[in-house]
Structure formats: structure tokens, C-alpha cells
């Protein structure tokens, strides 16, 4: 699509033709909100710009050994992933506006959807959403559309960032949230089952939960279904190599952050929102969906399907304002999963769990370091209680070259001394040993 610019003279001519001035174009914006000065510095030469950006980039701590998790993980990405996705045929970040013309892109999205379905053991997946948090919000709205009910039960072991996103999205909607408190690291059945009633739209849970603990929500799924409510499970895709899937638990909608599937960690993304659901709910699902069909000559072809859900047809009654997807990130996840294969994913998953288990044993052997939840199964993340405030310890460990974990005081009261530590397949025994020694020395 060519970009046609016009000169200031041409703009004035066009305005004169319709009898308007530049000011008229912005007349709808209240004077107080009109930006008159953007306070931009004067222009710089290319070299000066490069220098100052390099200076800024140096402020990032990219050399730290990463034990940070909390929803975003430092996994290994084979070089082949980037080399495949950066092929020029693929390297466009946007949904094509004439989709059926781009059969290759549609085929990739179709295969991505199939991969997400197999991973979660759900029946239908969409072409992706922005990130794990928006996917969870969209799932919640989807449940609201399906059930016509307003009450949502959400556990406080669901990623606090996601909960924050849900609350900011729904601030002006008439939805009623009830937050259940997890007990000893697990979803508290007593609290949740008691709250599910015939006004409940959905129960929102996460596995592994924010503290890394793993659970099986099958009983909650049954209880929710008995009252006509849905179960939404947010999951960590890498863990699905070995953990029970949302589909197997009886979840109605599964969501997840797809960053762990070959996407780099970066502040603000772009990340990848996974969403899959039971087939009966597909018409209430947001986002694009690619379907397989045959063309006029009987050959396999791909199309955007069920578009009547979307805003270019349904207008204000569309299932969502999402009219796009994270095509390139979805492709990356697909390529990553395809390269790893079924066994490779299982192996990665198992490695994460084994290394985390080793780190847990090594770190809890340090005097004064205690597990926060005793006797809980975890995947690749766990909470430790330190003898002093976690933020101080973390700051000291940064000086020693470690991003040791997430201080839980940031999201939970009375957890000042607690640190969330994540271990991926990338961490070596030596790195875990070095972390343990560094931790011991700063305590």
C-alpha cells in the first residue's frame, strides 16, 4: 500500500476547498487537552542519536543470571526459530487486510491454532491475543457473554499483574468480583465452592499458580458446571509438557502467556496471548480464527472464519475490540513448538521441574532460608522466606550478578521476606550453586 504524503501547501488547498482551517480540524478537542508544545529536543545527527541510545541501552542489566519468573521466563530459544520467522515472507507483524490472499500466513496461523489446541487439550483456539493478561480479561468477558451473568470469582494466586489488568479493563462495567484467598499455596476449595452460585459467570484460576504451586482443578470445574458457571484456567505453556492440561481438568476456556514459547523477555513485549475454548463457545470467542476449507478447484485453502463475531461486521456488538492478533509472535511460538516436538517439549518441561527442585533443595539448606509453603508440589518456581526483607537481599544479589527473584511484598501484604524464584532449563548446576553461595554470603 503506497503512502501518499501531501505538502503543507496541498493541505491548505484542500482545506480552502472545503472552507476550513487547520484549527477547525481539532475543534472537537477541548482547549485544555490540546497539546501545543511537544517539548522535543532539537534534531540530532544520526551518529549522536546512536550514541545516546547506546548510552540508554547500557543502563539495562543484561548480564545478570536470571532467576526471575512471575509469568515471564528465561527459556532457551534455538537459533533456527529466529532464522525461520525473520524470513521476509513472514516478517510482517500485522493481520493482512485481504487475508485470503496470504495463504502462507493463514496456514501458519491455522497450524498455530492447532498447536495451541494440542498443548491445552482444548477444542478451538483463536489466532492469538496481545498477551497473557489481556487473554485472561477476554476470557472473562467471553464467560460473561456466554452465561449472561455478572459475578466472577478470581483467586488471589492468579498472577497479580493479570488481576490488575482485568480490574482496569472492567472498571466501568457492572461486574462483580469476588477474590478468594489461596490457602497454603493452593486454591481453597471451601471458599471457592461456597461462592459459586447461580449468579456466577466464571471461576478464574491459574496453574501453576503465581507462587509456582501446581494443582488439579477438576473438582472446581465440576462444581462450577453444576451451577452453570464456567472455569477459566490461565496456564504456563511450557509446563503443559508434563502437567495436567486445562482441557483435561474440564476447563471451558484456557489462556496463557506465550512468551515462554521462543519469545525473548522484553519490557512491554511484544508478547503473545494464548486462548482456547470448548467448541460450543466458539461464536463467543474474541479475535480472529483461521479455518481450513477447499477452494473452487477442490484444493486445500485457508480462510478467516466466523467473522460475524468481529467488529468489522458486528460493529458495536462484536465479541471484542480485538481485531488483530500477534501474528509474528504466534508464528514464533509455532516454530518453537515444531522444532522442539512433543518429546522435546516434555524434556524441556521436565528439565525445568528437575532443576527447580534441585535449586529448592540447595537453597533451603541455607540456614535461615525456609520454604514458604511446606510440602507443596511446584513446577519451576517456588517461594522462599528469608530472614530479612527480600528487596534488600535482591538488591545485594544484583551487585553480585544475579536477578535472584521477584519480591512478593510488591503484590502481597505480609510477605516482606518472601522471594519468588524461578529456574528454567537454561540455568546450570553451577549457576544454581553460585546463587546459593551468593545468597549465603549476603544473609
Amino acid at each position: 500500500m503506497p503512502f501518499i504524503s501531501n505538502t503543507l501547501e496541498q493541505q491548505d488547498q484542500m482545506l480552502a476547498e472545503i472552507g476550513l482551517t487547520k484549527q477547525d480540524l481539532f475543534a472537537d478537542i477541548p482547549a485544555g487537552l490540546l497539546c501545543k508544545d511537544f517539548k522535543l529536543p532539537p534534531g540530532l545527527s544520526e551518529q549522536r542519536v546512536r550514541d545516546s541510545l547506546a548510552e540508554l541501552a547500557e543502563k539495562n542489566s543484561t548480564h545478570l543470571t536470571c532467576f526471575l519468573g512471575g509469568g515471564f521466563y528465561d527459556h532457551f530459544t534455538p537459533a533456527a526459530v529466529n532464522s525461520i520467522v525473520s524470513r521476509s515472507e513472514f516478517y510482517t507483524a500485522y493481520t493482512p487486510y485481504q487475508p485470503e490472499l496470504s495463504q502462507g500466513t493463514l496456514q501458519a496461523i491455522y497450524e498455530y491454532q492447532s498447536a495451541v489446541c494440542r498443548l491445552t487439550e482444548m477444542e478451538v483456539a483463536n489466532a492469538s491475543l496481545y498477551d497473557g493478561g489481556t487473554a485472561l480479561y477476554e476470557a472473562m468477558m467471553m464467560a460473561h457473554r456466554i452465561t449472561g451473568r455478572n459475578k466472577i470469582i478470581i483467586d488471589d494466586s492468579v498472577n497479580p499483574i493479570y488481576r490488575m489488568m482485568i480490574h482496569s479493563h472492567t472498571r466501568n462495567l457492572r461486574l462483580e468480583f469476588e477474590e478468594s484467598q489461596c490457602k497454603d499455596g493452593l486454591a481453597d476449595r471451601g471458599q471457592i465452592l461456597e461462592r459459586i452460585d447461580d449468579k456466577t459467570s466464571a471461576v478464574i484460576l491459574q496453574n501453576p499458580n503465581f507462587f509456582g504451586c501446581i494443582d488439579d482443578f477438576s473438582d472446581i470445574a465440576t462444581a462450577a458446571h453444576d451451577k452453570g458457571a464456567l472455569l477459566i484456567v490461565s496456564c504456563y505453556p511450557i509446563s503443559l509438557g508434563i502437567l495436567k492440561t486445562p482441557g483435561a481438568m474440564g476447563a471451558d476456556i484456557a489462556t496463557g502467556e506465550g512468551q515462554s514459547l521462543g519469545l525473548p523477555l522484553s519490557f512491554g513485549g511484544p508478547y503473545l496471548g494464548l486462548m482456547a475454548a470448548r467448541k460450543q463457545y466458539v461464536r463467543k470467542m474474541p479475535g480472529r480464527i483461521v479455518g481450513e476449507t477447499t477452494d473452487a478447484s477442490g484444493q486445500r485453502a485457508y480462510v478467516l472464519t466466523l467473522q460475524a463475531r468481529e467488529q468489522h461486521i458486528r460493529r458495536d456488538k462484536a465479541t471484542s475490540n480485538i481485531c488483530s492478533n500477534e501474528a509474528l509472535c504466534a508464528l514464533t511460538a509455532l516454530v518453537y513448538l515444531s522444532l522442539l516436538g512433543k518429546e522435546g517439549l516434555k524434556e524441556t518441561s521436565q528439565l525445568c521441574a528437575d532443576k527447580a527442585s534441585y535449586a529448592y533443595r540447595r537453597l533451603t539448606a541455607i540456614p535461615g532460608v525456609q520454604p514458604h509453603f511446606r510440602g507443596r508440589w511446584f513446577f519451576n518456581e517456588f517461594v522462599l522466606d528469608l530472614p530479612c526483607e527480600a528487596v534488600d537481599v535482591i538488591a545485594k544479589l544484583i551487585e553480585r550478578g544475579f536477578a535472584a527473584g521477584v519480591p512478593l511484598s510488591r503484590y502481597y501484604s505480609r510477605m516482606e521476606n518472601s522471594i519468588l524464584i524461578s529456574v528454567t532449563e537454561k540455568r546450570t548446576k553451577h549457576e544454581i550453586e553460585m546463587l546459593a553461595e551468593a545468597l549465603e554470603s549476603v544473609l
Binding site: 449472561g148 461464536r283 460475524a308 463475531r309 461486521i313 458486528r314 456488538k317
Partner: protein, 127 residues
């Protein structure tokens, strides 16, 4: 085909009053069905739901568009045609018979009486 005994809305729904009853059966006129093209999905309201005259109560999806249907009268949905959702070809075959969509128990039967008759609806289509 515009059956004489039915009443109509500008938005192409037909309404039929049961004998001496306040139950109004609602469907889509064959003109609307033809305009929509192949209907691929019908989303029915739930029995017991309240509807308001001239507000949306149901959605039909065709290959071209998703369209809302508007209620001819205010009242309560007392029956929905579940079997129609599985046999969407009935829309074309029997728009005024087996392709009825819902039955509404009218709160005020005068609302039904004030709907367009067949003659006026035909005029609207021609105009």
C-alpha cells in the same frame, strides 16, 4: 410472498397472534431472508427472558452479516424454536411456518394491533 393475516415490522419481522391469546409468534419475512443470503447461525434468546418492543432479542448470522432481530411487542419469551438452529434451511423453505423463531407473551395486545398490516408492509418494500 406476504401473507395477509400476519403483521409486520419495518425491520422485516413478521408477527402472528394465536387464536384469542396474547401469544405472538415471530419470524423473518422471506424478503429479509433473501436479502441476508445463506443463514449460517441463529442465536436464540432464553425462555423467560423479557423483551421490549422494537429492541433486539435475537441475532441471525448470514455469510454476509450479523443482523439483530427486533421484538414486535413487549413481553416475555415463552418458547423458542430450538430445532430451527439445527435446520437453518427451513428459513428459505418455510419462512412463515416451521421457521418461526420465538413466541412472546405480550404484555399489551394493543402493541400487536398497532403493527403494520400486509398491505403497508408491501408498500414499504415497493417504496
Amino acid at each position: 410472498m406476504i401473507p395477509k393475516e400476519l403483521r409486520y415490522l419495518q425491520t422485516h419481522e413478521w408477527a402472528k397472534r394465536g387464536k384469542d391469546s396474547g401469544i405472538i409468534t415471530v419470524g423473518l419475512t422471506d424478503y429479509a431472508i433473501e436479502q441476508l443470503g445463506d443463514i449460517v447461525f441463529l442465536e436464540l434468546p432464553g425462555v423467560g427472558e423479557k423483551v421490549t418492543k422494537e429492541s433486539e432479542f435475537c441475532t441471525v448470522e448470514s455469510v454476509k452479516a450479523a443482523s439483530d432481530l427486533y421484538a414486535p411487542v413487549s413481553g416475555e419469551i415463552v418458547e423458542v424454536n430450538e430445532s430451527l438452529t439445527e435446520n437453518l434451511e427451513l428459513f428459505k423453505a418455510e419462512p412463515y411456518g416451521q421457521a418461526w423463531i420465538v413466541k412472546i407473551k405480550a404484555e399489551d395486545i394493543a402493541e400487536f394491533e398497532s403493527l403494520m398490516n400486509a398491505e403497508d408492509y408491501e408498500k414499504q418494500l415497493k417504496g
